[in-house]
């Protein structure tokens, strides 16, 4: 059955908006339970070593303190690291909280104080005296480059495709070379909502946990494995999530803590983290990347080499797709892409918005910009010269690629033609002006997902899927798909998500939710449509008798024959004959053959204008145009919000975000939002989003690619390239801060020729 355009594609406002702005939307740490107790986590002040002793007497003496749990008195836990794994885990031995006396990273949770009131727990946490035997730590990536290794177990296939051709000999033949090192720092996700879990101890021994997570089923499985429970004993809910950006993909330790305490005390317990403790969770790893490009004198690429080193922890081999894009995006016969890891005494990194893509494309697109100056070809023209319709990593066609339209429409909207080619050639008053651009690319996925639709006799439909809405608009687009499929008004569709009891879904991430949960909902609604048509046909004198399902539309409350619109029947007429709700539950999965025959990517072209007071190094991003090709856009309003937010993230990546480590203590030092800078309103100016028309027919029935991540990919490079165009200074070490701009004003080899 085809999809009309009654609801899908409309810029409708978030269906969960009123609940959020009135405070009715409840987040994990806002749920309560009778006799709820409160846990506060004690964090290690050393980064490596052992706990020698824990003196909990002063804490336990505080009236209202119930218990102080640590490795030496906790309930029994499995020893096997495998039991602590999850759907998103990196290869290795997952962290086991409170398992033993070993300290693996600064800020590691070492005890949980449980009290009758949160203030008491927090106060008593300061009274727990822990003696450590500290060991020297290594947290500086630069010192570990010679120890970098290729992870023996890959987190995902295709992330570092084999070399093709002979890159070294191609490079030696190429008349023009670029070989540069680019660096990106540790970044923390810092969603507004800090992590929290409310574990409700049900009297029959079941556990209901409200958790801040991007994957309720993932957390349910984790709790079952760690605590030896069957799935019917554990239910995890995450109805609303106040941002996550990837840090909610894996179960975080507050979930473990709340469940451990609830099971141990047979009592409901809530554990929330402070903002400072948010810096003890996963983060975007630091990278050192070398990009080597070989090109003909006209700018056509002949060889691409991309070598990336990223940090991981001592216990897991976190990997993200950093180099794969450099082989996929531009045509070239010879390429070599390598990724290696170096171990540091830090917690394991985790996926952060466009993991790998955000940092890898910063390096590639910066190098492409450097190449454009080296060969004297306009940066946009250089991309067009190197346009490819095929994914050469996989040697296969791309299912749909409207990137050329992104380039052309983006350039038109931005006014790229007004750019003067020479660096430092555009100025207004005291300000130097720079124009920069970059390409963005991100994988389009469709992963198996289940969903259920129930149409009640009163004409309302409930849609259910375990997926999450982390502020992305999932509630809204699923409601739109339901409304579209049955021709219902949007307010007749009720969406339930974020609950492990609902039909299973993977974690909400990877930009796959709209495509995957959306397709599952579409299929579930298809089931309802078939059943409705069957019932409608069975009604006496039904005008729909003998009609093929493919020849029916449901729009505005009417079931109508497409080939003969005079044959129609109001939906309400079918509904009055219903005694019971119609129910349809499906598992949607991609066509594996289509997945293998084609590569699937979303693309973008990002254009940025920066303005800089050269003397003082004060820089602002005056404008960004992001032109995106991501298949069908289900809701231009929520999709635009995704791109806007990601562009702001890209501005932060380019100019502000960096978690600094004091290597003496192995500790992140700027662990609060005053010193960990993200862009504020004054840093964010005009952002223009274009969705170019792109028809995707193969990846999923909806034709959707997802827009959660594509907006950040390329943005940092576009800004860095604009900074070079404005100043003639190439900063290859993010973020681009005043000190880097000022110091480079002295003549160095970094200056434009």
């Amino acid at each position: 059955m085809s999809v009309g355009t009654n609801s899908i594609g409309k810029p409708v406002s978030r269906v969960d908006g009123p609940a959020k702005v009135t405070g009715r939307a409840k987040y994990a740490a806002e749920f309560s339970a009778p006799a709820l107790a409160y846990g506060f986590v004690v964090s290690s002040v050393v980064a490596k070593g052992r706990i020698q002793s824990i003196d909990r007497s002063a804490a336990l003496a505080v009236p209202g303190v119930i218990e102080v749990l640590a490795h030496d008195n906790r309930p029994s836990l499995p020893s096997s690291h495998e039991k602590y794994t999850d759907q998103v885990a990196a290869p290795g031995s997952p962290f086991r909280p409170l398992y033993n006396d070993e300290i693996l990273f600064s800020g590691q949770p070492v005890a949980l104080v449980i009290a009758e009131e949160p203030e008491i727990a927090r106060f008593a946490a300061g009274l727990v005296e822990i003696k450590y035997e500290a060991e020297a730590t290594i947290t500086e990536l630069d010192t570990q480059i010679d120890k970098a290794f290729e992870p023996p177990e890959k987190r995902a296939p295709d992330w570092d495709p084999p070399a093709r051709g002979d890159v070294e000999s191609a490079l030696s033949r190429a008349p023009t070379h670029i070989r540069k090192e680019y660096r990106t720092p540790v970044e923390h996700h810092n969603p507004m909502e800090t992590f929290g879990s409310t574990a409700v101890w049900e009297n029959d021994g079941r556990l209901t946990v409200y958790d801040k997570t991007q994957g309720a089923p993932n957390c349910q499985e984790y709790l079952c494995n760690v605590f030896g429970l069957t799935k019917d004993k554990v239910r995890v809910l995450s109805p609303y999530v106040g941002g996550a950006f990837g840090v909610g993909l894996r179960p975080n330790y507050q979930l473990f803590m709340a469940a451990l305490a609830a099971i141990g005390l047979k009592r409901s317990v809530r554990v929330t983290l402070t903002r400072q403790q948010m810096f003890t969770l996963g983060y975007r790893p630091q990278t050192i990347q070398t990009l080597t490009l070989g090109a003909e004198n006209d700018g056509r690429l002949v060889a691409v080499r991309h070598d990336a080193i990223a940090n991981t922890s001592r216990f897991e081999d976190y990997q993200e797709p950093t180099v794969v894009w450099s082989g996929a995006l531009y045509p070239c016969d010879d390429s070599a892409l390598t990724s290696s890891l170096a171990r540091l005494d830090l917690f394991t990194p985790c996926d952060m918005r466009a993991p790998g893509g955000a940092v890898g494309m910063y390096a590639l697109e910066s190098a492409m910009d450097e190449l454009s100056y080296a060969v004297g070809v306009d940066p946009l023209e250089l991309r067009l010269k190197n346009y490819s319709e095929r994914d050469q990593n996989q040697n296969r066609p791309i299912s749909s690629k409207a990137l050329k339209d992104c380039y052309l429409q983006g350039a038109e909207r931005f006014g790229w033609s007004k750019r003067r080619p020479e660096p430092r050639s555009m100025r207004e008053g005291r300000e130097l002006i720079g124009y920069g651009m970059a390409t963005g690319i991100w994988s389009a996925f469709f992963v198996p997902t289940s969903a259920r639709a129930i149409l009640a006799p009163d004409g309302t439909m409930e849609i259910a899927c375990a997926t999450a809405d982390i502020g992305t608009g999932t509630y809204t687009i699923l409601a739109q798909i339901g409304a579209e499929m049955l021709g219902l008004p949007l307010d007749k569709v009720i969406v339930r998500i974020g609950d492990s009891d609902l039909p299973s879904a993977p974690v909400e991430g990877g930009s796959w939710t709209a495509a995957s949960a959306g397709s599952a909902v579409m299929e579930a609604c298809n089931g309802i449509r078939k059943e409705l048509l069957k019932r409608a046909s069975a009604i006496n004198n039904s005008p729909l008798q003998g009609v093929d399902a493919a020849d029916v539309t449901m729009v505005d409350g009417q079931i109508r024959v497409k080939s003969d619109p005079s044959r129609a029947m109001p939906l309400s007429e079918v509904m009055v004959s219903l005694k019971e709700p119609i129910r349809s539950e499906v598992s949607a999965a991609p066509d594996e053959r289509a997945l293998e025959e084609y590569s699937h990517y979303a693309h973008s072209a990002v254009f940025a204008e920066v303005r800089l007071d050269e003397e003082l190094g004060m820089l602002r991003v005056a404008r960004v145009v992001s032109a995106v090709a991501a298949g069908r856009i289900l809701n231009p309003k929520t999709a635009k919000s995704q791109i806007l937010g990601a562009v702001v993230g890209g501005i932060g990546m380019a100019l502000h975000e960096e978690t600094v480590i004091d290597h003496r203590y192995g500790r992140f030092m700027n662990h609060n939002l005053a010193e960990y800078h993200v862009p504020v309103h004054a840093d964010v100016h005009a952002i223009d989003v274009i969705f170019v028309d792109e028809q995707e027919h193969r990846l999923n029935p909806l034709g959707v690619k997802g827009v959660g991540e594509i907006g950040i990919v390329g943005t940092a490079a576009a800004i860095a390239n604009a900074v070079f165009h404005a100043t003639g200074v190439r900063v290859r070490d993010l973020p681009i801060t005043i000190d880097k701009l000022l110091e480079l004003r002295q003549p160095t080899s970094n200056h434009a020729a």
Binding site: V45, V62, S106, E119, R122, F123, G126, T274, Q276, G429, R430, E431, R611, D613, E615, L616, G617, M618, R620, L655, H656, V660, D662, R664, Y665, R667, M669, N670, H671, N672, A674, E675, H677, P679, V680, H681, A682, D683, T737, I738, D739, L742, E743
Partner: protein, 338 residues
Amino acid sequence: MIDFDYVRANDLGDALSQITKHQAAKFIAGGTNLIDLMKEDVEQPTRLIDITELPLNEIHETQTGGLKIGALVPNSNLAYDERITQRYPLLSSAILAGASPQLRNMASTGGNLLQRTRCLYFYDTATPCNKRRPGSGCGAMEGFNRMNAILGWSNSCIAVHPSDMCVALSALEAVVHVMGPKGDRAIRSVDFHRLPGDMPEIDTNLARDEIITAIELPSEEFSRNYSYLKIRDRLSYAFALVSVAAALRIEAGAITCARIALGGVAHKPWRAPDAEQSLEGKQPSREAFVEAADIILQGAVGFDHNRFKIELARRSIVRALEQAAAGTPQSQSVKVIV
């Protein structure tokens, strides 16, 4: 965060007797800094004495032609008060360069003077800090010291004072009125904050049992030739890498009085009288401003991550003086620098 009592002071006498009685007590007004520090266990007062009901929230004319600002006037009220915006725009501009509207609504004028440093090591109880725990060492000196001092630091502390408002007060030579068990006294704003020396745990010359009652602005307003220029890592809601309060009196084309105060570079708003004197009698010019900047920064010494602040300060001083001389002060809402 520790367990603490909370009481309300009925009047100034009550406030003073409470603070004298309880050694580990602290006054609280807006709480925009103190509460953060308590959450981090950096400050551990066992009693908070709420002074927000005291009658210290008005601005009065003084007999000498200045203004007396009650210690509890909220930062935002002060910044937007017409007497301040018309007559002391440097002060208004400096306040608006700091924090966020929400914080300025809560923060009091007296409390702003008592802001504590934002040094990362002061804030993190897992690391050494002589200011927080005397004798434990300075974590910043060989650590991450991007935000730290280039002037006036000591071997025990390289922290900087974080306020913007106080930089303007120093340039305007305001006077801080305080009340204590021994009576009232007035402290010149340039003497209010101190350098760390070997007692970095003491930020100011206010005694523990004293309370700030008012800030007095002298009659010299500098309403024509002034600028507050703040350079920071993002364009709002960030502490200064360097800030400059510049104020000039220009008569018949010559500078007859110059005031230059620096923020973000030292343990107190930094003044250099010899640099100011070097400008007096001269016509405003870039050369003169560069010379003044050089005098101010003569003794500046930076650390691994903040050496750039010396050159940044030099350029910022010159620019702020140029802005002041031209009568084109830095806007705190439009971030383009003129």
